[in-house]
Amino acid sequence: MIVKEKDILFIDSLVESAVEHIPNFWPMKSFIHHNPLHGFENMHFEEAVNKAHTLFHAKKSLTREQYQRFYQEGKIEDMYLREELENFGTKCGHTHPLLENLFIQLMTKSRECHHFDEITNVSPLIPQIAKNLSPESLNDYADFNANLVKHLAKEKTIYDVVDMLFATNVGEALDDIMSQIAMRFLGEGQAIWNMPKREKGMFLSWKEIVMQDKVFFNENETLCRLLRETALAEDIIFMVLKELKIPRSFWEEYFTLELTKLHGWSGFLKYRSKSSSEYQKKYPAFMEEFLAIRLYYSYMLLKKQENSLGFFPSMKELGSYIMNNKEEAFLRAEYNSGKLLLSYFQSVENFLHETQKTDAKEIYDQYIYDKKIHDCEVLAEYLYKVLSLVLKEEQIQTLQAQELNAINAALQDFEDEEGFIWLKAMEKTSMMQLMSDYVQSKKTQEQVNSSDAQLFFCIDTRSERIRRNIEAAGAYETYGMAGFFGIPFKSIDVSNRCESDLCPAILTPKHIVYSFHEKEAINSKGLMKIVKKVLNELKYNVLTPYVTVEAIGALFAFDFFGKSLVPKAYMPLRKKIFDPKVEEELRIERYTEKEATESITAIQNQIIKFVIEEKFNIKPSSLDDEILNEIREIALSKEDIVQEDQDGVAIDSVTKLGAKYNLLQIEEQRLIELLRKEYKVSAGHMRIQKAKMAKVGFSFKEQLYYVQSALKTVGLKSFCDIVVLSAHASQSENNPYESALDCGACGGSSSLINAKVLAYMANKQNIREELHKHGIHIPEQTYFIAALHNTTSDVLTLFDAHAPHSHHEALKKLKADLELAGMLTAAERMATLPLSNTRSKQGAFSLAKRNTMDWSQPRPEWGLSKNHSFFIGKRENSKNMNLAGRTFLHSYDYTGDKKGAILSVILSGPLVVGEWINMEHFFSTLDNSAFGSESKVYHNVVGKLGVISGNMSDLRTGLPSQTVNLENEPYHEPLRLITMIEAPFETHKNVIDKIHKISELVYNEWIKTIFIDEKETAFFLYEGNTQTWEKLEFKTFTQGENRA
């Protein structure tokens, strides 16, 4: 070890800071929508977009042509575009009278109207413009070398510059090596050839490989010796940086540069290193290990270039080369980047390939001279074309040099900011539309006297359509809240042997819920059947000794071993035992101490039977409880069995098992040790297992708390006979992105179990009695029913098998209305999907159902595409707004929340989830290559955790093109989430200021915020340009009308 403890903390903290701007990437089975620029949220939105442009080489906005399409479709009001242009002019200080008209022409007239392509370089004015351009308008190539050195290790890695100057391929080779290592180590069961000794962790496992690698385990004796001796990734990081001569003050930026190269894998590792996933526990991997491996290979690959370069390109030597060979370095960069003037191609090529270099200065000076003339001509031609939009030839001729340069400077600023101008104008158009619709909706409100049922839905934008159609179908009230219904738990599905966190990713599950199929029963006998079968299947597997009670019990991560190790034997067995059609049973009540002990004891006895059979070939049927209990008790005690007498001779058995089967004590002791070490039948592990079981289910107080919170959050005070809690899930075949279409508030899973858990709790008599004392009166006849909205087919299924007979008639009517609502919703949605030209409602409904089964369908539904707003308020006020499935709807009644406590829960939880979803769509649309995953057609699933493009690439993050684009043009309209909060501005605005995260989102404009103040009959908008809250009276704003 060459680094000290404080250096370890220092390096690891640097790594943590370095990856802050890289977004987490969750495995595909639980796709989490997130803001790809989450790490930049402490900055203003525009600043963050600019930073991401530099770091990820991402686009800053859609193209002008794409925005023009929205403009032509009326989605961007001309008035707001002009308003934003004015704001831009004020901000940048560009005051030339020509500019406003010039910019408007550029923005609103299509390229064909500009006749740009028809204007050729024939006008005599072009040389005149070129003559008038100031030198500041043009690139100054004299700074090239100094700038390159300045950016070395800050904006470019050493090998970026080496590749640029010497046309080497270090960066690509390094990315390929690291992608392979990531796939082989981080894969979750797909790779045929995994890394060796993965349980030791990523760095040590990799060491096993690289030390056998003759290509990469040489070159530097000190480094290789260190690698052989150290177990610390930080040692390698430290040593490589020393060899590359990168000063400490550059380390953090250098780490960022390295880790953003494969930001998909880095993002996945960032998630995994902090998760409690089974794979992370079993095969730990951390970011500093990934970085150490990358740095090691980058050093070795650079070292291999030493001979051909004539020097080792450490930061210092490379910097010296660039400064001491100014002309040659510049010409190399021009030549290799394809920017070289064509007329110089041959001469520069000859020069670069000469072994004895002639004087570079002559060719360099001449080249710079010609290059500047060329740049000047190109710029002059462009300016001429632009000016021709608003000026006649003679007017252009009269422009003074000063004016021309001022216009040129403004034009450059404008092009840099144009995307933001479009965006803000488009957002304003939508905001004014939403406010108008709200006022109109309130005006047309009808008094509702009584309702037949109340239905809760997730805030998901897809709920808006079905809610609206259900409300229209009959006397129904609907409510919206986050789909995990406020109950954060981990679900362990015994049938499928898998676990899911059924809560938003920003929340840690506080409980565990087991789900079982009826056939299994929730008792230890049912569990034993499963344990026994799987143990038998594992018998012939080489990894059997690793099997633990956690792995094979129904308790924890059953799936990990069953599916991963013996899939062929296991999967048919699973199908045989578990019937997926049978509705699951949930363990919602907390285990008592007695129940927990009984369950664990029963599993342990089953394991003991298995091990005895394996070790001594004794039939399990011949082992009675007495024998098993004795062995188990010895294993749980700290006592050992004496193996030899005083003379060192092996002595006879002491246990009933040993007596019955003539075992020696030494054999009995080995059995005990095996059980303790490999199968975790020990007192310590039993304590851990009991502690884990104590998290299963909910205590009475917890149940009371969750029911009370859910009802208070939405402001529900009186109850119908039927209250439906509707979960949602999508359904598609052959779709790695299926979980992206599931419930975001449930970590990319179906929210059905959450709905069932809340319904169970709310139906309990003793819970209702206690709620009564807290002022919530649920009538005896009220019955809560869980339901599932299939968002692909719009079929809504009620889980009402246990509903009281008295409710059957009402349920029959409800089901009919739900079917009608589903049909209408499917018809609305199908009209937006390509190739679904059916006109009838029935036809649309059946087409939607077909999409759930069509394995060739790349776009089974649009999901959350086109989301643009989040409404927090009373449903009756938004009921008559046609929000077209674009709005998250959270029910909230400020009159029952004087201090804003409920609002703070909604803002800090559901709104943050909404913002993640919105930003995921925003950036995946803006640049589908940098932030999205491009076309599904080229995707290959890798390591069962994500997709790559083709057979080798970075892990692809973000949404595929099919989710946000239609025929390569944006279908999603990228707008920041317009958040409407129905609450008095004066008293509730401080909720924003008290939650740091929310104040960041509001004041840094990651969301656009509007308070709807019923008392003041006014809207309060946060205006980013002036950084103030702007007040607007309640009124409808007709198109084109000035809001002032």
Binding site: K6, F286, G486, S904, V905, V912
Partner: protein
Amino acid sequence: MRNLKKMKKVEMIIEGEFLAHLTRLLEKIEIQGYTIFRNLEGRGNAGYHEGQLLFNDEDALVMIMTVVDEAKAETISEGLALFFEKHSGVMFITDTHMM
């Protein structure tokens, strides 16, 4: 005070998002014992932090407290200086006695 050993108490207030990172670092330098206080509320340079973020663990403030000898306290303060430079949060080191 008899039987009491002079030690240093280290208290670190950080955003919940970094809890796993810091506890892992402590374990890495062989500090096995620490206590975590959740849902802290208060104002700092970064603005006001509400304490009860029921549906959000990442953005709530937490405090890690550990008691170590002087040498370890020095390692922590030097090693984590950069972390506290880069992130909102604060570290206190005070004298204490441990039984």
